[in-house]
Point group: C2
Chain length 392, copies 2
């Protein structure tokens, strides 16, 4: 388990890619979905339960962990893998996104960003160098550069400024990473530029010149329509080297994942499966089911009798409805596990389809299955259709 980071593209089917990357904590099959472990835990699930969903890699949030328990404390306690009892790969974000969305009184300049903790008002300073240092203290297998992420829509001049700043921070991040990276760890750059394709192209080109072990597409799933997001993805992936993994940050719904894989994306993270699970929504072959709905009160059918995941077969819709209505933790727990497992099943299905050259068929069949659930009225009362919600 001490191999350095590497990525192998195994095969393609149209723009869809089937690959594998190796990290010091093990390998990951792509396309891959990373459950989010914001505060050192995937909300509501033990590491064993996360593993049982089929997940091979988690995302950890630098912003949350730097505030509490602090990166230095995690390092003293043996690093994030040991701290949270997850011996497999971990990718950490840079903290930039949460600084923008969660903290108060932030001041951004060339050097970095100063912000007030949302927990206790303490002041923090985050620079590209400090973001890399924190991620090294956490022991990330994959670190992300610090970038500036804007909400859409935004003026082009502002978008260009943020994109250019993110490029300068990319260069500083790489230098800092070379100075103190953990053996075998990887650093990814982040393409910015909003919905302006010339800015995206420039960002991708200059990042590739700097050179990273992987490339993320950032600044999406921040309120724009799905069509805009997919257009940016579709026009950005061709600018990225085929032999490096591509990571679409903070995305998304099951449909977003299928469509982004169709456009050449290899990696995803999103809080949707766990957050929706805590709010009584189950992701299934039949689409997203709102278990709060009274139609499930007497439904003795398992959530999905044909799911490969035991939890989706073991509990009736009526029981899950009861747990959700009663506000019982177990409802949130079971639905979080079932949802992460559904995401993993979806990714595994896409991987197999790409290998066998039938990705287009898989995409059609998956959408037909969701549509059938909608036609059967199973999705009645849902509130989670449409684009991915914002983190966290």
């Amino acid at each position: 388990m001490t191999e350095p980071f590497s990525f192998t593209l195994k095969t393609t089917d149209g723009a869809a890619r089937r690959g594998e990357f190796v990290t010091p904590h093990g390998s990951v099959q792509t396309p891959a979905f990373m459950p989010v472990g914001t505060q050192g835990t995937v909300k509501g699930l033990t590491p064993e339960q996360v593993r049982d969903t089929g997940a091979e890699i988690l995302l950890g949030n630098t912003y949350h962990l730097m505030l509490r328990p602090t990166a230095e404390r995690v390092a003293e306690l043996g690093g994030l893998h040991r701290f949270m009892n997850w011996p497999r790969p971990i990718l950490t974000d840079s903290g930039g996104f949460q600084v923008m969305s969660l903290s108060q009184l932030r001041k951004l300049d060339e050097q970095g960003v100063t912000f007030k903790s949302h927990l206790d008002g303490a002041m923090f300073h985050l620079t590209p160098e400090r973001a890399i240092e924190i991620q090294a203290l956490l022991g990330a297998d994959i670190s992300m550069q610090l970038d500036e992420c804007l909400r859409l829509p935004v003026e082009r001049a502002e978008m260009e400024r943020a994109m250019a700043l993110s490029l300068r921070w990319a260069e500083r991040s790489k230098k800092a990473f070379e100075d103190r990276a953990r053996p075998g760890a990887a650093l990814f750059g982040i393409v910015q530029g909003g919905d302006d394709m010339s800015l995206r192209a420039q960002s991708a080109r200059e990042l590739v010149e700097i050179g990273f072990q992987g490339y993320a597409i950032g600044g999406l799933a921040v309120g724009e329509p799905q069509a805009v997001m997919l257009k940016v993805v579709e026009e950005t992936t061709p600018s990225l080297p085929a032999d490096r993994p591509r990571y679409l940050m903070g995305v998304g719904t099951p449909d977003d994942l299928v469509e982004a894989v169709a456009r050449g994306v290899d990696m995803f993270d999103c809080v949707m499966p766990t957050r929706n699970g805590r709010h009584g929504v189950a992701f299934t072959r039949f689409g997203a089911l709102n278990l709060k709905n009274a139609r499930y009160a007497d439904d003795a059918t398992p959530l999905d009798p044909d799911s490969p995941h035991p939890l989706a077969r073991a509990y009736s819709r009526a029981y899950l409805h009861h747990l959700v209505k009663a506000g019982e933790m177990l409802g949130a727990i079971l639905l979080s596990a079932i949802n992460v497992a559904y995401y993993q099943t979806l990714m595994a299905g896409m991987r197999a389809a790409i290998e066998q050259g039938r990705f287009a068929d898989f995409r059609d069949a998956t959408k037909k299955s969701w549509a059938a659930g909608l036609a059967a009225g199973l999705q009645q009362g849902n509130s989670t259709d449409g684009a991915a919600s914002l983190e966290p």
Copy 2:
């Protein structure tokens, strides 16, 4: 798994008893601790996690289940075992205790009790016959008679009235149970009489005359000092037949369990391990540890490196502290599981000690271990010493 209820007393050591009871859903080794599944779930734990603690039997709350999802609905969905995916024995209480402690506007008369649901204000009527019917609909392996439970201290006349009413309800409960019990299920009577030993003796004597498959001691752990509770237990158990299990309801702390087993009790239930787990307190060999305490922030030691339960060995005190401070569900989940497992370990230790005729030594060693934890400052900042807190 269709054997009728039976109890075998295997051996004794002083007043402590080692036994086994068989139910239609499997057998249970005694002395036994039953985790509480109030609303059809042991709070925060999957049935697999409950089983992994070593628990062999759960308690279900008639009051909560009759309000939501209703006993009729549980019956239509195949019974409580299937509903909650727990194929092992279940004991249900009669609902009486929660009616007294949770509902509003209750009116009690000879016939039964009328009360207003704490959920939505709907009116319900609970009689001895209806309590038996509900428990049969739920599919309980062991049902409890409806009784009237008073808080201590209380006037003797009032205590006598409630005790006598509970005896008349015991008789009606038995008749109702004989009319419609599920095959192989058992009915337990409940000794009342507060802290008045002549009333307790009368209650026990008359219950035994009616004849039940087991006898509970009710009306304790309702605010009285531990010494009072233990005195009542000590003077009541000799009045109960040796060949029937004895169940001390709603008790208690680990120390309560050891002292009650020493006085001849076979069965317990209590929300303490799960409720305290949700509040950041861990029950261990070292006593009760309050993980919120800052002293654990940098403590890389597992909660209990020598625990037989994997979860107590897998996570550091620092990590548990972090989860509790961050308000993460996983803190409540892990501590609930660890606490129920500690209770089960304690019961298993008592069972082995009784078998080997060394119960007194086990009791001493257990108390010394708790005292050593206290001396080492591990229990600093605790709020859970003393008598068991009230349900639920």
